[in-house]
């Protein structure tokens, strides 16, 4: 059995390596194969000033001077037009080619005292015209020396005041200008959007972003794919709005404070916050280990689970943990804490602390079903250990792992840290909305950088598109992870655990968080000192 998995893994790795090797770097080009073009796109005509090796049109170089003169161009106009129209084509969005006219562009007459080196390049002015205004422009450039793979033509393309450069090669002969977004190449916009989606997806795997919330919710019995998709949609919209809002605030603040002065302070604040989170976590680990805080194991006497006799909440252990990304402890509304919470690491730290401490959560007794139905094992319990609900069973309350925040989980603890639905209460769209908003409320710095960079480049609209794509990628991963949890939740029972490792990990993660915060703060201080 292990060999099959090993073989599959090796095949996957080999495939990845083959893909990597296949992405070969471009080869070197030679000077003699160079061509350049200045392209200026207008409404009904596009002009191309093309400088290219004269050898490509040797049939027109009557005096074999290495340069085409105005007379030679005029003499061979028809042949040149036919030849160049086959090699270079400009077409609009309806695939209509522009009508080509050619003019000679002669070089300067340098003083006779300067014996310039013979030039091997000629310059022509190519004009492509259409009868009606062009929407979208596609350029096909195939004027290369036959069999010379390293030939290339660098084109500068000016449209609506925006300049774009593109290198035509034998392997890359087509370039497209998107209507309305003239500075975008045919596939470039789609590639940028795809990259933003991928970036959002990858970024969502970093700590935070509501994964724990989504996971805990979707593990619940009442979770459906429709709920998950709604949750993802709300997260996307909320996150996008959050980025826009913060972007606007930053731009506004930048009018009064130079961005270079603002960013280090933001970084310092962020770093300090992360340090405080890490230290807080670390101290909480220490408090948990202190003898005064340990809870002696105790057991319940056999008791009835009749709601009438147990009006209060009780606790379940070992695997019932708080799935909350709330920074604090003791609130019912997740969004209350999230509205004031710090960056992602805070939420992650708290949720992780809850997970590792396996703090008992409270369930209202009315919703807690102690029947022996076959569905019970799937009910909102992320429990690693099966437990029965025989009325004579014991609830052992081993609190050896302590609590995240050092408080007591009494039997009269009336609040729940569970997302909506996990405690058995009916799931409503409003609760899902609140959950999604809480998950996407705090914008990712990465998305903010994306937006601000686009604005700085004068491409605000495309920046908004990219941020939306980023948020979409983020939401897709959240949904995917959630759905995986839905189908895989029963496997958690089989995952082996190492108690000692699990005891050490929380402190280690707290230390790592603190170090990250120190690093961020140091960098910010250095930037401030350099100002």
């Amino acid at each position: 059995m292990p060999y099959r998995y090993l073989l599959l893994s090796l095949i996957s790795c080999l495939g990845a390596i083959l893909i990597w090797v296949g992405l070969a770097a471009p080869s070197q080009a030679h000077w003699a194969d160079l061509a350049v073009a200045e392209i200026q796109a207008e409404a009904i005509a596009t002009q191309m000033t093309l400088t290219f090796p004269t050898g490509l049109v040797a049939f027109a170089d009557d005096d074999q001077s290495g340069q085409l003169s105005a007379v030679e161009v005029q003499t061979h106009a028809a042949d040149l037009q036919k030849f160049l129209s086959e090699q270079i084509q400009f077409s609009d969005s309806e695939n209509q080619r522009g009508a080509l006219t050619i003019q000679a562009v002669e070089g300067a007459a340098l003083p006779p005292t300067i014996q310039a080196a013979p030039n091997s390049h000629s310059t022509l002015l190519l004009t492509y015209a259409w009868e009606k205004p062009v929407r979208g422009l596609k350029i096909h450039y195939g004027l290369f020396l036959p069999g010379v793979s390293t030939a290339s033509c660098l084109a500068t393309i000016l449209q609506d005041g925006q300049l774009k450069t593109f290198l035509f090669t034998p392997k890359q002969q087509t370039f497209a200008l998107t209507p309305g977004l003239p500075w975008l190449a045919g596939g470039e916009a789609l590639l940028a959007i795809a990259a933003a989606v991928a970036w959002g997806a990858v970024h969502s795997m970093s700590p935070g972003h509501g994964k724990t919330i989504v996971g805990a919710y979707l593990v619940g019995e009442r979770a459906t794919p429709k709920h998950a998709m709604f949750l993802a949609l709300v997260t996307t919209i909320t996150h996008t709005i959050g980025v826009f809002a913060l972007g606007l605030v930053t731009l506004f603040a930048a009018q009064y404070i130079l961005p270079e002065q603002l960013y280090p302070w933001l970084s310092l604040a962020s770093g300090a916050l992360v340090i405080s989170i890490g230290v807080n976590l670390f101290l909480s680990r220490l408090r948990r280990r202190s003898p005064s805080h340990s809870h002696q194991p105790h057991s319940h006497q056999p008791h009835s689970h009749d709601p009438a006799t147990h009006p209060n909440t009780h606790e379940h252990l070992d695997g019932h943990f708080v799935n909350s990304e709330s920074a604090g402890h003791g609130t019912t509304a997740l969004s209350d804490d999230l509205s004031s919470k710090a960056p992602d690491s805070n939420a992650y730290a708290y949720a992780y602390a809850q997970l590792e401490s396996r703090s008992p959560v409270t369930l209202t007794h009315a919703e807690h079903d102690h029947t022996h139905s076959s569905t019970h094992q799937d009910q909102r319990h992320l429990s690693r250990n099966d437990h029965s609900h025989d009325h004579n069973h014991d609830h052992s309350h081993d609190h050896a792992n302590g609590h995240a925040n050092g408080h007591d989980h009494g039997h009269d603890h009336g609040h729940s840290h569970l997302p909506p639905g996990t405690d058995g209460s009916p799931v409503t769209w409003s609760s899902l909305l609140a959950l999604g908003i809480s998950g996407g409320l705090v914008p990712c710095p990465a998305a903010l950088v994306l937006l601000l960079s686009a604005i700085a480049l004068g491409k605000t609209a495309f920046g908004l598109v990219l941020v939306t794509a980023f948020s979409f990628g983020l939401a897709v991963v959240l949904t995917g992870l959630g759905l995986i949890l839905v189908y895989a939740k029963h496997l958690f029972k089989h995952i082996p655990t190492h108690p000692r490792l699990l005891k050490t990990l929380p402190a280690f993660s707290a230390a790592c968080i603190t170090l990250v915060g120190i690093g961020i703060s140091i960098q910010a201080v250095l930037q401030l000192s350099n100002q």
Binding site: W31, A117, P118, T156
Partner: protein
């Protein structure tokens, strides 16, 4: 799903587990293979600030915009002047300014296409404005200089109305030709005319060539002290050249810091990358050197640059030092083809250096190549007799056992004044072959005095840097 289950019931049940583990693992491996960790760590250390003190540290860090690269700034200028040419019908002045912008791109990126554009537009400018057109003539002269057409460079410089540009061209051309007295005179004229960073830098380079290290260092510092915000290319170039100065005197740490400071000012600046690669080769950090070469290649985006052959030579040297002779031979062959094509005859754009081809043939160490190396250098020294060219010629003559001639050439190079440990080591080798052990020892001690850390590694890395001509 059913098929998988049929093939292996146990596997079918766990296929998704394999995918869950395998996909991230494979993706992670693929990502790790693609991500240049060392460069990213270097980038991170670069972002934490400069390790240099003033005036070596760039004082205008605030002007280093993170979102707007220097080439983007030049592209904006190009867009502006292209529009002006179209709207104004082309007065000649707009074309001249456009040509200057193209030249700026060429010198920043090293890409040959931009030189071609600059030349073509400069000619158009001269067609429309044949008189008092400093911009166009300067561009034509600079393009000629890049092609090592020094004769035409000086002729064109003589036509430039603007004295600053004309004198600056005279300085660099005379330096390249090895005419140090003319270069010195021109450099002094330029400093008298304008106390600009460029004039101080050029005077420093002349003093380095003359062996006047103290005065050169002082002028480099003047150049840095008088630099202005926004002139990123100038600031990066000065630090790169100063870094070379320290490299050739064995102060590798300071050279490293200066190259990296240049990259902090102008990210991806090819000359700084090339010199860093040379430094890494000298310190046997071949992986780091490969990364710098890869960055130079990647930055060009497939376009040919003036550094192509030097990158290939450097990579070949790395392979040779690592003992991978076949890979080294392949890279040398590729560089050789590139260099041969680039200066076939005198037609068209030629950026190839005979000297570079000769050095390649000598580095490869094939006995069949030495005769051609001598022939190439004989042609080259007929055009220019600067110290580096003479040292290469002496090397070529040594491989042919023409010791007497090699001795004369080496002595001529030493007489110019350049303090170059490689040159003195070459001279020591020649004197040893001629049986002049005392003179050989003197030369060796001089080499050690100039560069106390000069060793076999330094000799292997010699000739792989990018200097003034780059």
């Amino acid at each position: 799903m059913k098929q998988l289950t049929a093939l292996s019931p146990r596997l079918g049940k766990r296929w998704w587990l394999v995918a869950l583990v395998g996909v991230p693992l494979t993706s992670g491996l693929l990502w790790l293979a693609q991500v240049d960790w060392s460069s990213q760590l270097e980038e991170l250390s670069r972002l934490t600030g400069s390790r240099l003190d003033a005036p070596y540290r760039y004082p205008y860090s605030d002007s280093l915009s993170q979102s707007n690269t220097p080439t983007a700034r030049t592209e904006q200028e190009i867009a502006h002047y292209q529009q002006a040419v179209r709207q104004n019908g082309g007065s000649g002045l707009d074309e001249g300014a456009l040509a200057i912008a193209y030249l700026q791109m060429a010198r920043t990126t090293g890409q040959g296409h931009w030189y071609l554009l600059a030349d073509q537009v400069a000619q158009q400018s001269l067609t429309k404005l044949p008189v008092n057109n400093s911009a166009a003539l300067t561009v034509l002269a600079r393009v000629a200089e890049a092609q090592h057409d020094f004769t035409n460079t000086l002729k064109l410089a003589g036509q430039i109305p603007d004295p600053k540009e004309a004198i600056a061209l005279r300085v660099t051309t005379h330096l390249a030709l090895g005419k140090l007295s003319d270069a010195n005179q021109a450099a002094q004229e330029l400093v008298d005319l304008t106390l600009s960073p460029n004039s101080f830098m050029l005077q420093a380079l002349v003093q380095v060539a003359e062996g006047n290290d103290e005065a050169a260092l002082k002028n480099f510092q003047y150049a840095l002290t008088t630099e202005e915000p926004g002139e990123l290319s100038m600031s990066a170039r000065t630090r790169t050249l100063l870094g070379r100065f320290y490299y050739e005197r064995g102060q590798l740490g300071l050279a490293d810091d200066l190259y990296r400071e240049a990259l902090r000012i102008l990210p991806g600046y090819p000359a700084a990358q090339m010199n860093l690669a040379q430094l890494e080769i000298r310190q046997e950090r071949y992986g780091a050197a490969e990364r710098h070469y890869a960055q130079v290649t990647a930055a060009s985006g497939g376009a040919s640059t003036v550094y192509d052959s030097l990158v290939l030579r450097g990579r070949a040297k790395i392979k040779a030092l690592q003992g991978d002779r076949p890979a080294a031979e392949a890279l040398w062959a590729e560089a050789e083809a590139l260099l041969r094509q680039s200066f076939t005859g005198t037609n068209g754009f030629t950026f190839g250096h005979r000297r570079d081809l000769a050095r390649l043939l000598l580095e490869r160490g094939n006995p069949n190549d030495t005769a051609e190396a001598v022939t190439l250098m004989q042609t080259e020294v007929a055009r220019r007799r600067d110290a580096e060219t003479l040292e290469t010629y002496a090397w070529a003559l040594s491989t042919q056992k023409q010791w007497q001639q090699a001795q004369a050439v080496a002595q001529e190079a030493i007489a110019l004044g350049l303090r170059d440990a490689t040159l003195f080591y070459r001279a020591a080798t020649i004197e040893t072959a001629l049986g002049n052990s005392t003179q050989a020892e003197t030369y060796r001690q001089t080499a050690q005095t100039i560069d106390p850390s000069f060793d076999e590694n330094a000799r292997q890395a010699a000739g792989l840097g990018a200097g003034l001509g780059s």
